[in-house]
């Protein structure tokens, strides 16, 4: 089965004002199948957000492609002009649910106008009442009081509703792939659950074909994704099924992430979560050896000197030469 999305050895960099380069995404490869939810986990600064820009084909200077390709249905979307990308990819092929729903809606436009802007941007001939009907139908479907919400300004909506509105607008054009960037991190636990349910419904309804779900909460990915890619310092360091990564992580970084999780379950209190000390390396310089080695609790002397490649270990991919 051909994947719906194929990321092939993608490297992206930012040009700095002084001529330097920051290699924010380095040699990232993965595929996304139809109907699949891929989780991407990692801490701040690991390159998740840059990767999202690449996946959407939206390389706005100073972000540039170093090598590699992002293919949707076989077509490399990174080769498109910005206007082509806007018309053919954004919103239709790939859409995006941003992190802060609070700030993602233009405060001075009504929800219906914001949504209509998206539709009109892709279909200039769409007439007003058709758009309105379409919006009503879609917003009702995602469990909103369509009339009230469409006529409101974003500020008038509570946070949970706003996140739903953002999801509704993001999926208006039935995109094949939706990238959800921490869609629930600003919400309380109950609202978060409802939002995740909604995303599942969209998949079940066939409105969305596949999803990439980005978060640093592994406990959330455990319930959401079918496969997980763990990113560290611009690279994928581990890629496997959810079960494999969460309960059988091979990469020391993945295990450290798991070790920092906490859980409100009985008996867990005794297990002390452990923070990962230190910070990811700065990507504006040539890096050699294992990038996690300085923070790695099990680092060996040879780690620092040895560049790591992603290799298959027991059916999943790990970037650590000590992994078995």
């Amino acid at each position: 089965m051909t994947p719906i999305l194929e990321v092939d050895r993608l490297s992206l960099h930012y040009r700095t004002r002084f001529g330097g380069r920051i290699h924010a995404v380095d040699d990232v490869s993965f595929t996304l199948q139809k109907g699949e939810i891929l989780g991407i986990a990692g801490e701040s600064g690991c390159g998740k957000t840059t990767l999202v820009s690449g996946l959407m084909g939206l390389l706005i200077p100073p972000l540039h492609r170093t090598t590699g390709a992002v293919r949707i249905a076989g077509r490399d979307i990174l080769g498109l002009t910005p206007d082509e990308a806007r018309r053919t990819v954004l919103g239709r092929e790939v859409s995006m649910i941003p992190q802060g729903a609070l700030n993602s809606l233009n405060p001075t436009r009504k929800v219906k106008d914001l949504a209509a802007d998206v539709i009109r941007s892709h279909d200039e001939r769409a007439d007003r009442s058709a758009i309105h009907d379409r919006l009503r139908e879609r917003f009702t479907k995602i469990g909103l009081d369509a009339d009230a919400v469409l006529d409101a300004y974003p500020v008038q909506l509570p946070a949970g509703t706003k996140q739903r509105v953002v999801i509704g607008i993001s999926t208006l054009l039935n995109p094949k792939i939706v990238i959800a960037d921490e869609p629930s991190s600003a919400l309380d636990v109950s609202t978060q659950k409802a939002v995740i349910r909604l995303l599942f419904d969209l998949l079940d309804e066939g409105i969305v074909s596949s999803m990439i779900f980005i978060t640093h909460e592994l406990s959330l990915l455990r319930h959401v994704s079918s496969r997980i890619a763990v990113m560290y310092a611009g690279q994928i360091v581990e890629l496997g099924t959810t079960e494999q990564v969460i309960f059988d992580g091979r990469q020391p970084y993945t295990r450290a992430l798991m070790g920092s999780m906490l859980s409100a379950e009985p008996g867990q209190k005794a297990r002390k979560p452990v923070a990962i000390e230190g910070a990811p390396p700065y990507l504006g310089q040539e890096l050699h050896g294992c990038r996690f080695a300085p923070r790695c609790p099990v680092a060996k002397p040879d780690c620092a000197g040895r560049d790591q490649v992603l290799r298959e270990v027991k059916n999943h991919w790990v970037r650590c030469h000590h992994a078995e």
């Binding site: 330097g20 920051i22 600064g45 957000t49």
Partner: protein, 628 residues
């Protein structure tokens, strides 16, 4: 580089915008089409169009006041308020010392000190009165004859109700000497017996207008003799005067007078000639600089505003009375009054030390653009009509020139010691060893020439060991301080306009003791409170001299009396005369009109047209093109 790493950490955190942390990703979006909102486009076009229409050819054809028939003068200030001549401060040309519309008996020629005929042909001084004879040809410009009746009405009826009308200090009443004549023209101005002062009466005769009885009597009756009601009348619609011009129009930007071709004086005084310009216009600009610029551009023909460094303007055709320093005839004496009620300023040694410490040459050259002649001590101008009262011999013997050594000697003689540290004055001690408080010299802030004068004074005084400092205050506070005596030293100019009463009125301004008031109450002359009758050290001779000079009829005696008074002033130094200044400035441009008098051809007193005797210039002007 570290910063950029942090930037990406931040970016991924999804933080809102942070100052300084914004990478330029969103800023450099792909090039969209040029999108000028349509309203802005319209507006932009409008501005461009407006600019072009305005830059079109300058046209002068449809001028109401053709340039070659108009003399423009920089003489008026501020927007026109009222043209009522009984106000203290009406707008030009109803302003005092303007003779285009209303007229006085005489012009005062400040160069010769002579009174020249205007409404009156002659006068005669008597011990108790001054008799004046009107020109029999004088008429109002509505055609009615101007007679002694109008004069009597003007003084005895109109001026009686003006509060604080100054002439009544010296004038008792006015009478016709030929009342039975069909056209009475002989008048007697009776002096006030307790204050006989013909000089001041003559002074007022050169300044006070004569107003038409037939116009003002009804107004006076309508106002019920109430000054406040009468003064509300703006008198701006073709008021009746007797001068060579009439009111044409006025706005906030200019006042326009138009020639009265039936002016009686054309025949009676100017040999049948009429003034050259048809219009006399006073544009109202908002600063001195603008009059200066307009004069250089030939937009105005003459101005009496202060123009710095006039010699630089000569190549633009702008000239003053003289072509070299002092450029303008000196006419008054800016003076630092000394408050003798603030000890130790009552000490003559200290006052004289101050006078010796001031570098008068610096003041002349640095503070007043060189518009002055070298300093002589005392209050008499060694110049013009007053020069005859001045004695160089006295000045050398008693006077104070710049001489730091003598300043120090005076201090020593007064028992003062100055404490210096690192060549900086620390304090001045009097003979008991007590510190003399710092003496402040006041003037309004922003009056830059006076500020410079004070800086030069302070520098000189501190150099010889007198603890003096500048004090620049708000002008309103200055006026109050001046009147109530709230100062140590303060700059002011005693007495105002060119006058036959000079230099008596200048002396009187410094020394007058008749209207004595203690500190805190107002005095309008002798604000330094010098020579209070009955106080220790009172010099009765000063009061005697002030009383005697005006009534002296013998010229030699007057010279002797003035000389004596000036000598006392040099010895006692009641105030510090600092520099000579013109009474008013006199600048003209020959771009459009020629024939302006100057030192080389002093046909008229150095006043610009529209200012006192300067009106006579208008008969001498010729268009510049015609001269070529």
């Amino acid at each position: 580089m570290v910063g950029i790493a942090a930037v990406f950490q931040k970016k991924n955190l999804g933080k809102p915008w942070q100052p300084g942390a914004q990478p330029s990703t969103v800023e450099e979006s792909p090039r969209p089409r040029l999108l000028i909102p349509s309203f802005a486009r319209t507006v932009f076009l409008l501005v461009v169009v407006l600019g072009f229409t305005a830059c079109g050819p300058k046209q002068t054809t449809s001028d109401e006041f053709p340039r070659h028939e108009t003399v423009l003068i920089g003489v008026a200030w501020g927007e026109p308020t009222s043209f009522n001549p009984i106000l203290q401060n009406p707008s030009w040309p109803a302003l005092q010392n303007t003779t285009a519309l209303y007229q006085t008996f005489f012009f005062f020629n400040q160069l010769t000190g002579e009174l020249e005929p205007q409404l009156a042909t002659s006068y005669q001084e008597f011990p108790d009165r001054i008799e004046v004879e009107l020109n029999p040809a004088a008429t109002w410009n509505d055609g009615k004859p101007l007679t002694a009746r109008d004069v009597v009405f003007t003084y005895n009826r109109l001026f009686r109700i003006v509060p604080g009308f100054p002439a009544w200090q010296y004038l008792d009443s006015v009478q016709m000497l030929d009342p039975e004549s069909p056209r009475p023209r002989r008048l007697s101005f009776r002096l006030r017996a307790e204050k006989p002062n013909p000089l001041m009466v003559l002074h007022w005769l050169t300044l006070n207008y004569v107003l038409p009885e037939h116009v003002w009597e009804p107004l006076l009756v309508a106002a019920g003799n109430d000054y406040n009601i009468l003064s509300k009348n703006k008198m701006d619609v073709d008021p009746v005067g007797s001068g060579p011009y009439r009111m044409h129009s006025y706005s906030a930007e200019k006042i326009v007078l138009v020639r009265d071709d039936n002016y009686w004086g054309n025949a009676a005084l100017y040999g049948g000639q009429r003034p050259a310009p048809r219009f006399l216009v006073a544009p109202l600009y908002k600063s001195n600089d603008h009059y200066s610029m307009a004069l250089q551009q030939g937009r105005i023909d003459a101005s009496n505003t202060f123009i710095p460094r006039i010699w630089l303007k000569a190549r633009k055709g702008v000239r003053a009375w003289y072509d070299e320093p002092p450029y303008f005839p000196p006419g008054c004496r800016p003076t630092a009054f000394i408050n003798v009620l603030h000890p130790p300023l009552d000490d003559v040694h200290l006052r004289r030390a101050m006078a010796f410490a001031i570098n008068y040459d610096d003041i002349r050259e640095l503070a007043v653009s060189g518009y002055s002649v070298p300093h002589e001590p005392g209050f008499i101008l060694p110049f013009g009509p007053e020069a005859r009262y001045f004695s160089k011999e006295d000045a050398l013997k008693y006077g104070t020139y710049f001489d730091p050594a003598r300043a120090r000697a005076e201090l020593k003689e007064g028992g003062y010691t100055s404490v210096f540290k690192d060549n900086e004055l620390v304090e001045l001690r009097d003979r008991t060893g007590k510190r003399v408080p710092t003496l402040y010299i006041q003037c309004p802030t922003g009056w830059s020439d006076w500020e410079s004068i004070i800086r030069i004074m302070v520098r000189g005084m501190r150099a010889v060991g007198i603890d003096a400092r500048e004090q620049f205050v708000d002008s309103n506070a200055y006026y109050k301080a001046l009147a109530v005596g709230d100062f140590d030293l303060i700059l002011t100019t005693p007495s105002g306009i060119p006058s036959p009463a000079e230099p008596w009125s200048r002396f009187n301004g410094v020394l007058d003791t008749k209207d004595w008031a203690p500190l805190g109450e107002r005095m309008y002359a002798n604000m330094g409170r010098f020579n209070r009758p009955g106080a220790p050290g009172y010099v009765p001779r000063i009061d005697e001299l002030l009383a005697k000079i005006p009534v002296t009829t013998q010229p030699e005696e007057r010279v002797a009396l003035y000389r004596e008074l000036n000598r006392i002033c040099m010895q006692l130094q009641p105030a510090l005369p600092l520099v000579y200044r013109p009474k008013s400035f006199y600048e003209f441009s020959t771009k459009v009109w020629t024939g302006f008098p100057s030192a080389a051809s002093p046909t008229v007193s150095p006043n610009i047209p529209g200012e006192g005797p300067g009106i006579q210039i208008l008969w001498k002007l010729r268009p510049a093109d015609a001269a070529k």
